[in-house]
Point group: C2
Chain length 492, copies 2
């Protein structure tokens, strides 16, 4: 908790959900929060469904109107149709709530001038009563520590990444996607049209929030350019900020206008503002994910362009990986002769390469020594590696017999061992380790549970990336980011 | 079967595997083909393991030497160490086999001049005896119709894609990856150092093979530039050819030299040769996969840059998708007012967009009509869509109650229905349908089995792509490819 004015809004206790459906409904409205009544997210200060037609929903007492709910209610989630919003706003004022989140859509984003006027009027009434609004047309809050979430399935465990997103679906995709890679969140907010609270308010709050170490943003349009830029500068000065701007192109900007009523503005101006503020800019959803992982793991500590790649995908994989690394402006330096000779003690010549990239599968007992040798070789700034412990060799490659009568270790144990090996190599050598973990078929063939390994590695401070190409791009972007932050406080 | 001189080599019948291990072995050598003894691939004319130390392996009679195997043996797979190869070569000559595949590595690719000399001598001896060689340092043949494969798990069902690959691991990755997307292969060959048979021989064969409709290649280096270019021109003239060149960059070309002894040459010359020949050029493994899917489905029929996107991922997803499409030089045209009005009959205004991209979830009974309307709208050349039948709406979106007492359809049935809907829309409207099927978490949430849907769609002639960005890039590349093929025979 801080004394920031938005602190109560980001830490709601008692929550009322107005417009909960009494039975499964057609259409999109009012179903997200209904499903939360059955989840682990039940608001620490009380969760009060409101629907005049029923007395009880899923074991909760249901109230006929907001005014009938017990006191206090901090935060209201509006699932009522747009036409019912003015009445609900009056009730919020009477109830003296702190904040209201309009899941309700159908306001300014429709392009209908009348609904835009309604939107402005309701926001003004709320403001005059000291009530802040989130939305309309959005998913609202995910705050694990307050046990509030906008989708079931999100982790109840908090982390240190703060997310602000104009799009609810993208917020969901960012959270779900990153959760699989081990990332956990302090707070996330989807704010849609941003009629009241908007990007600069959230950046300002994130800068001051001690639980948030990394700030990620998905933005479609900025209404107050100056306020946004000032807040971005303040926030990016003290914390790593990564921004994905939707609507970078002409087609995307048309779509953004239909989606959140955003006017995209010049992408060149936006990019220049990010750069000047010292924030990182992602061009795609994948880049956003990767940069968030990088900013919250040791990948942020990369200092140079020399990459050693310990493959495990065969010679052709090594060739394409070297191409992918080179394409991002990084290099794959040849190792010194002494290191090559040392490695050749463990690895036969036929069917392997011990120069960089290293396409070889030494006996497991030599693996860590070999990686330490590579990580400390001249010209190597970063070690790209697949997890080794517990990994089966690529299909068909038999390294040793399974030990008689010994059952293979459980995925969770494999994951923990792989993660601690990677972090030990990093700790011993001082060279950042960047983990490569190809998903799907290849991981299954190698006996790895991608999510378990990624999570264990993340907890150990190691970022995992789904391909060499993405890891290389991320490292190149971090180097670039650090370069243009020169003169700003050290945050990596 | 054709009368092409390489036809017997690509259609082997009786096969001897020399150097089969009597027990699981350390290191890479000799394990791939061992595991095939337990698989569905057992060579239609007989499979004869050779190992002097044992009488029987996995239920097969094992022979002490190649000379002891029954007659005839067409094809020999050498798993013996490099030092034992000269003796095996003599036995092949005595046995009058047609071809030998050296899985054995440790020759010219090591950079050792002595082993390069051994390689040249053994190839010369084989040639003089009329025996063709594949390799060394490679995985050899996958020919479903001859029941021969270099990895267990490959489909036994043949298809119409021919693959030549200098790298075994990449051949495996191309086949495994594409199999998941529905693609099936006529023949595939991994040829490593290419000491005897090499790229131009395989291109020449593929051009003449009636079972091969699309030709894919992974190449690290070309030894006979003129022969290669001539064969490429002949093949690309009559069939779609897609090439991924490994070692495009300096780092990659160093790695390629260690891998297959290849000297990469100028990438500009290589690219220009592909373009002049009318072949498509992939820059990454993903692009190679996507272009093969495109060349063997209706994606190859795209004619213009106007894309309609039917989303199903929410408004923010639509915005980023429009950006991804625009970034590839395609467009997302606004639909005519009449089409928008027609769609608004089915779809509420709040929380949806019916202009392009279409971010809306109409009741299922209207879905197909709506898609036909979009596909035939002015300015739309291609319809990007997610499969609809059987798809659950995005998380939290409830469209209708599950019908009482009715169990959900099986994944295979969902897949078949989704595929036939997509192909019906394409057939009715004449607009190519490009399928988008995001893998992993998102597909699982939507209740889709990615592989089953991809396979069913592929069989119905529809290509599925794992993201809008990749679909857009593929369409742009196909348009470019068709443009520079102008003047060449129509093959799409």
């Amino acid at each position: 908790m801080t004394d920031h004015p938005l602190d109560p809004i980001f830490n709601p206790r008692a929550v009322a959900v107005v417009g909960v459906r009494s039975k499964p409904s057609a259409g999109m409205m009012g179903s997200f929060y209904d499903s939360l009544l059955e989840s682990d997210f039940q608001a620490i200060g009380g969760l009060y469904p409101v629907n005049p037609k029923v007395d009880e929903i899923k074991g909760y007492r249901c109230y006929p109107s907001l005014l009938d709910t017990p006191d206090p209610v901090d935060h209201v989630i509006s699932q009522v149709p747009a036409a019912a919003v003015p009445e609900l706003v009056d009730q919020c004022v009477a109830k003296k709530v702190r904040s209201i989140h309009f899941f309700t859509a159908g306001f300014s984003e429709t392009g209908d001038e009348e609904m835009a006027t309604v939107e402005r009027a309701m926001i003004e009434k709320l403001r005059n009563a000291g009530i802040r609004a989130i939305g309309p047309n959005c998913m609202g809050l995910y705050v694990p520590s307050s046990r509030l979430a906008f989708m079931s399935g999100f982790p109840t465990k908090p982390g240190n990444v703060f997310l602000l997103s104009q799009s609810g679906a993208n917020a969901g995709e960012i959270i779900s996607g990153l959760v699989g890679r081990g990332v956990r969140f302090s707070k996330a907010i989807s704010y849609g049209n941003g009629a009241d609270l908007r990007a600069h308010d959230f950046l300002d709050y994130a800068a001051s929030d001690p639980d948030s170490h990394v700030v990620a943003a998905y933005i479609e349009g900025v209404r107050d350019g100056r306020a946004f830029f000032d807040a971005l500068k303040r926030c990016a000065r003290v914390k790593p900020v990564v921004i994905l701007k939707g609507g970078r192109t002409q087609s995307g900007s048309h779509a953004a206008h239909s989606h959140t009523g955003s006017l995209a503005g010049s992408i060149e101006v936006f990019d220049a503002a990010c750069r000047q503020a010292g924030a990182a800019r992602a061009e795609t959803m994948d880049e956003l994910h990767d940069l968030i992982v990088a900013a919250s793991t040791s990948t942020r500590r990369v200092t140079g362009r020399g990459v050693a790649l310990f493959g495990g995908g065969g010679g052709g994989f090594a060739v394409l990986s070297a191409d992918a690394i080179d394409r991002e402006g990084l290099t794959v330096p040849k190792l010194p002769q002494s290191a090559v000779e040392e490695m050749r003690k463990y690895i036969p010549v036929a069917g392997s390469s011990v120069n960089n990239p290293i396409d070889a599968f030494p006996p497991e007992e030599y693996m860590e020594d070999m990686l330490r040798l590579v990580a400390t070789a001249e010209g190597i700034d970063t070690l790209f590696m697949s997890p080794i412990s517990g990994m089966r060799p690529p299909p068909g490659v038999k390294v040793s017999d399974p030990k008689d009568g010994e059952s293979p270790p459980a995925p969770a144990e494999i994951a923990t061992r792989a993660a601690s090996q990677m972090s030990a190599i990093e700790a011993d050598t001082g060279t950042p380790v960047v983990g490569i973990l190809r998903s799907g078929r290849m991981a299954r063939m190698m006996g790895l549970d991608v999510d378990a390994v990624s999570h264990a590695a993340y907890e150990a401070g190691i970022g995992m990336y789904p391909s060499v190409a993405r890891a290389a791009r991320t490292v190149a972007q971090v180097l670039d980011w650090k370069a243009y932050r020169e003169g700003l406080p050290e945050i990596f």
